[in-house]
């Protein structure tokens, strides 16, 4: 199930090809993307994200304390 969540978050971030870097920081995923406009904010919130903050191609997804686990699950998919 956890892998499934990582997969769906990855899809909402525009897929593996859109990821430059993902770094977990306690409660959030800091994502550097090729194209920030591909992010599906609604889908991320549907997956339990508390919030999504965009600054160009850097997008922070607030996922709560399991950020480290989700990030390493996503890394496994890249």
């Amino acid at each position: 199930m956890a892998d499934d969540k990582a997969e769906r978050i990855l899809a909402a971030l525009g897929g593996a090809d859109n990821i430059v870097e993902i770094e977990p920081c306690i409660t959030r995923l800091r994502c550097e993307l090729e194209d920030g406009s591909l992010v599906d904010e609604k889908a991320l919130k549907g997956l339990g994200a508390h919030g999504v903050m965009r600054s160009g191609n850097v997008v922070q997804v607030v996922v709560g304390p399991e950020a480290d686990t989700i990030a390493s699950d996503i890394e496994d998919l890249l």
Binding site: I26, V62, G64
Partner: protein, 150 residues
């Protein structure tokens, strides 16, 4: 039961809304308070008895045996320091007591590097109304910061 949450640092208690980061200021990951730390090198202590479940140089989470998790974040965007200036005294998974040193840092150094050294202390995933007896004004590391009704 009520969990006493101790201040991890010495400084001045301020509302979370003063934290220059929307995740904390809007309490997205839980309610809490922030401490504007004294600008001297100091040991940061665990806010509760529990297990260090998440550990970064600049932030950590201690979870109690009942599953209450308290997040301590040392400064804003300090992940970018990549551990520089932070000395850890515990490892992930280690059992700690409230008041036990977890990391040593220097808020003055963090500030000089261009980061806000303010320390949000968050009751992860708690409802706002379960935080009681919030301290105000100056606190010392280990002093009661708030009570978490569970």
């Amino acid at each position: 039961m009520t969990l006493r949450v101790a201040s991890p640092v010495s400084g001045r208690v301020v509302p979370l809304t003063e934290v220059p980061d929307p995740v904390f200021a809007q309490a997205m990951v839980g309610p809490g308070v922030a401490v504007e730390p004294d600008r001297v090198s100091a040991e940061v202590v665990s806010p509760v008895d529990g297990t260090v479940v998440t550990l970064h140089p600049h932030a950590f989470v201690v979870a109690t045996s009942e599953g209450a998790a308290v997040l301590v974040h040392l400064g804003i965007d300090t992940v970018k320091r990549k551990g520089e200036g932070f000395t850890l005294h515990v490892v992930k998974g280690e059992a700690v007591r409230a008041g036990q040193p977890v990391v040593t840092w220097d808020p003055a150094e963090v500030e000089a590097a261009g980061f806000a050294p303010i320390c949000p202390v968050i009751a992860l995933d708690a409802a706002p109304e379960v935080l009681l007896d919030q301290a105000g004004g100056p606190v010392s590391a280990g002093d009661a910061l708030f009570s978490w009704q569970r």
